[in-house]
Symmetry: C2
Subunit: 247 residues, 2 copies
């Protein structure tokens, strides 16, 4: 297999309701597209959700880090490339490149996934998945952004609380991964997005939250333009952590 | 021009983050697709947003009514057909059909649009738009659902309040049309969507709201499964009205 054939490329256009007030694609929509591309790429190679579900396994997103020079404008075409960087026994690293309509790479993303049994919720061995064939797709295309780092928040007073609603809940009964991104960016005033842009965004998915849970958002400013956020459900358990860097 | 050539058909698939906890496409995503199809169809015929914007005009959505027998499931392909039913001096009626992957029509929608000057915000004469050519696209395909009706809410105590945030705001600086749909459906408990499904949904867009506005939601139960909702901004001006019918 050539390195090129290991990369999946998918085309998109920035739809009017998918851009924010600055006319740029939102981080939530970009996240949605990235996760869809992961799904397309895996399905086409026989290790997608549908195949896994038949065997009572499912992919679980653990980490996501996005770093961008620019974002597509409303009505602009763009494409997302995705490939597998590493496969370990319990985790796999999947990377992404965001390519604008001129063919220039304007950003990268990294993600970390585990596979779990839908019955026991325990992690499964990726190296035996599909006869170990996922390893055949490991690709050496570079992804020149830092891996998702550790996020630590010591703040003990939440800056916002939110009770999860119907629209937050996905087909698994969990608050969906994209909604957390929206809720986290909604912590910032509009002014912040007028003066600056998000150049790096990280999510660490730690536990699931459910319908009716109260999410508390703890935010810590770390340096001039960097914010660390921890989301707890019902005042106790950490659900997600996030890092937002503006420039 | 044949009647068929007046109909635009656009293909979609129900993405994982676009379905609710029941695994069905959400009403918000469907609304987004309908409005995109309106845009595609109009652009392809020379009266889309881009062309209008050059001439300092823009389309404004006034009414939307959706009536459904079923909704696509996660990963299911579906298509949306759209056509112009009527053109009046100040309004045009655009209809939609939702077609499942077996080619069966599973729902219809009606929308009413005005065109306004971006400078004066005053309505423009549709019959003179593009030399009146929009009239050439009027199509007699039937749309067997009721037109959007009058919605009247007398309730004076809001059941929810919400301060608009970054994610609500579109490129025009307004709360986007789709976000109202999400916020309105979020008024209902999850149980409601377990036991029933939305068979008809109406939106009347009355005025714009902006970042930081407090939206108050007034809900009235009209019959066993019908709810009328009025949304006011900052305690006074009506922004949207909505009708939600379950079955």
């Amino acid at each position: 297999m050539t390195e090129d054939s290991k990369i999946g490329t998918y085309d998109f256009v920035a739809e009017p309701f998918h851009v924010d007030f600055t006319g740029k694609l939102t981080m939530g929509v970009l996240g949605n597209h990235l996760l869809n591309c992961a799904g397309f790429h895996a399905s086409e190679r026989g290790f997608g959700m549908a195949t896994l579900n038949e065997n009572h396994y499912t992919w679980v997103l653990s980490r996501l880090a996005i770093e961008l020079d620019a974002l597509p404008n409303q009505y602009e075409k763009f494409s997302i490339q995705t490939w597998v960087e590493n496969v370990y026994r319990l985790f796999t690293d999947r990377n992404f490149a965001l390519v604008n309509q001129e063919g220039k790479t304007i950003g990268y993303a990294r993600s970390v996934w585990a596979m779990i049994s839908m019955e026991t919720r325990k992690p499964a061995d990726l190296l035996t998945l599909h006869g170990g064939s996922i390893v055949d797709y490991v690709c050496d295309k570079p992804c020149p952004i830092e891996k998702p780092g550790r996020i630590k928040v010591t703040e003990t007073n939440p800056i916002a609380e939110y009770q999860t609603k119907y629209s937050d809940i996905d087909v698994n009964g969990h608050v969906n991964s994209i909604k957390y991104i929206e809720h986290i960016l909604d912590l910032f005033p509009l002014e912040q997005f007028k003066e600056k842009r998000v150049c790096r965004f990280e999510m660490a998915y730690v536990a699931e939250s459910y319908y009716g849970d109260t999410l508390s958002f703890y935010q810590e400013k770390v340096g001039a333009d960097e914010y660390h956020i921890e989301v707890k459900k019902n005042g106790t358990e950490v659900v997600v952590r996030s890092k937002v860097i503006f420039e």
